[in-house]
Every structure is written in structure tokens, then in C-alpha cells.
């Protein structure tokens, strides 16, 4: 099965469709995105160049089965297509976060959340607390929160 994302005029993904691989075979019997795009234009009434193939098994620029990742993430409705970087970007979680083209994800301006301490981890395991770091956009910081509190 092949998957194609339908793009709106603003580059946002409107819909994701599945199609048989044999619908995108070229004259040499090789899968060709252009053939799939043309097929979708004919049968789904939307310009060929606004159908972009996406990989069901790619997430955070990694292939689930160890293969070659394709276009960063499996496209979802509302994702944004970045033609320059060939990546489908999920929605930006916070205004200050920046793109990371290596992981095809969004990073906070101060990096990842700190790791939990061993004590916090053990309390989480014991289910007495649920310690997590949550992003505080106003203070631009990672705040430690106990969800059970």
C-alpha cells in the first residue's frame, strides 16, 4: 500500500489516502510517485503536484522497521509540508519551539527536558507520584510537575 497526502493551497495536509502500489507503476514496472500523483489527479480531482507520497512507517525521521525514513513523518491532517526539507511537520506545540530537521520534530529553545532523578523514577514506578517535566511557555522553562498532586 502507498500513502499520499493531499495538500491545500497553504501547504497543509487536508487528507491522507491509501492507494494500491500497482496504481503507481511506470512503464518499466517500477513504483513512481509521479504516476501515483497523476492517477490521483484523474480520480480524485485535485492537482497532481498537490499529492505528496508519505511513509506509513516513518516517524520522527526514523523507519519503524529499520528501513530508510521517508519525508520525516507519516503525514496527518493538519501537518505542514516543507518542500525544501522534504519533511511533513506536525503542528508546532509552542510558539517558541524550533524545527529540528534531523528528528523531524520540534525542540524547545533550551533543549530537551531534564531527566528525572532516580528517586522520582522510583516514585513513579511505585505509583505514589507521577513526575513529569512540562514546558512552561511563559517562563521558557521545563517545570517539574507531579500529575498526582
Amino acid at each position: 500500500m502507498a500513502h499520499f497526502a493531499k495538500l491545500g493551497s497553504n501547504g497543509k495536509v487536508i487528507q491522507v489516502l491509501t492507494m494500491d502500489n500497482d496504481k503507481m507503476l511506470n512503464a518499466d514496472g517500477v513504483e513512481d510517485e509521479l504516476v501515483g500523483q497523476q492517477w490521483l489527479e484523474t480520480h480524485n480531482n485535485w492537482p497532481a503536484q498537490m499529492w505528496i507520497q508519505t511513509s506509513y512507517n516513518t516517524s520522527s525521521n526514523q523507519h519503524k522497521n529499520g528501513g530508510t525514513p521517508f519525508r520525516g513523518n507519516y503525514a496527518g491532517i493538519g501537518y505542514e509540508w516543507d518542500e525544501d526539507n522534504q519533511i511533513f511537520w506536525p503542528k508546532k506545540p509552542y510558539a517558541s519551539w524550533v524545527k529540528n530537521t534531523t528528528t523531524a520534530g520540534w525542540d524547545s529553545p533550551i533543549g530537551d527536558a531534564p531527566a528525572l532523578t532516580a528517586e522520582q523514577e522510583s516514585q513513579n514506578t511505585a505509583d505514589t507520584h507521577t513526575w513529569v517535566y512540562e514546558w512552561n511557555e511563559a517562563n521558557q522553562s521545563w517545570d517539574l510537575t507531579d500529575l498526582k498532586a
Partner: protein
């Protein structure tokens, strides 16, 4: 102090912004409306209508998370200086099979005005006027009564209506 909105009457409107060179073929739609009205037949399915309908369903779903399912579609021709009778697309005694939303699309219109009636709790009988232009859509709850007026004296107005329920 907290607030909970129990229901809302949302109206969606704007232009159908198709990709370049993929504009809705409004000549085709107006021809189909004319044919269906003259012959008193159902509005025919066409590729053009499907493009319009798919655009609406896709974009309303994307922007507002409202998933639409088609109920009915038809086209109307309004004579110069004509104002319709009050229009209501639900059946008050069969709400189960009535649509949730009514979509009006300006196929070939000039000086066309839509008046949508609504109630604001204790304030009854309110209305909202919006001009319907070519290639523009207005979508509102089918429980709202509305009128369409052709405000000029020279030409016919062609309006496509599509009703939807949401899931």
C-alpha cells in the same frame, strides 16, 4: 468563576480557494442548475460538483474538525428583484433525518443577499445579513431559517445548495 458553552450557532463563510488553474467550473454548475430546474429533475452529479463538495468537506474538517456527510443537493435560480419565501431545510417533525448544516454556494450571482435568522436566548427574531458573491460559500445550521434576495433587476442568480450532517 468558570464558563461552559452548551451549544453554539456557527456560521462558516469565505471563498472557495482552489489551486491555480483548478477553479470551480461555474458555467457547468449553472448549466446543470438550469437543466434540473427546467426539467424538474434532481441535480445531476458531476465532476465539478464533486470538486466543490470535496473541497468543502476537506476544508471544514481541517479548519474546524467538523466531519461532514452529504444529505442532499439542489440548485436554484432566482429572478431579478426576487426574495424567496422563508427557507428552512429541516423537517421539524423528522429532525432525525434532517441535515445539520446548509451550504449555499454562489454559482452566478450579482447583488445577492442572504438573511439568516437566529435566536439569542431571550432575544428572538434576530437576523444576520451577508452578501453571497460568485465562488463564495456560506454554511450555517439548518435549523436557521433564511431568505435569499436578488437585489438587482438585470440578471438571474444561480445558487447551489448542499446539505450536510456532521458526525
Amino acid at each position: 468563576m468558570q464558563k461552559k458553552v452548551l451549544s453554539e450557532q456557527a456560521l462558516y463563510y469565505g471563498d472557495v480557494a482552489m489551486p491555480k488553474d483548478w477553479d470551480i467550473d461555474r458555467d457547468k454548475l449553472s448549466g446543470d442548475i438550469l437543466q434540473s430546474v427546467i426539467q424538474n429533475k434532481d441535480f445531476p452529479f458531476s465532476k465539478t460538483w464533486d470538486i466543490l463538495n470535496t473541497y468543502m468537506r476537506d476544508h471544514v474538517g481541517l479548519e474546524y474538525g467538523v466531519n461532514l456527510v452529504n444529505k442532499k443537493t439542489w440548485g436554484n435560480i432566482y429572478k431579478p428583484a426576487e426574495t424567496t419565501i422563508p427557507l428552512l431545510n429541516i423537517d421539524p417533525v423528522d429532525l432525525c433525518n434532517s441535515p445539520d448544516f446548509t451550504l449555499l454556494y454562489g454559482v452566478k450571482v450579482k447583488d445577492c443577499m442572504v438573511r439568516i435568522h437566529y435566536e439569542d436566548n431571550r432575544r428572538k427574531g434576530r437576523s444576520w445579513d451577508i452578501p453571497l458573491k460568485n465562488n463564495m460559500f456560506i454554511m450555517f445550521p439548518s435549523t436557521n431559517m433564511y431568505y435569499i434576495t436578488n437585489n438587482q433587476k438585470d440578471s438571474l442568480n444561480f445558487v447551489q445548495t448542499i446539505t450536510y450532517e456532521y458526525i
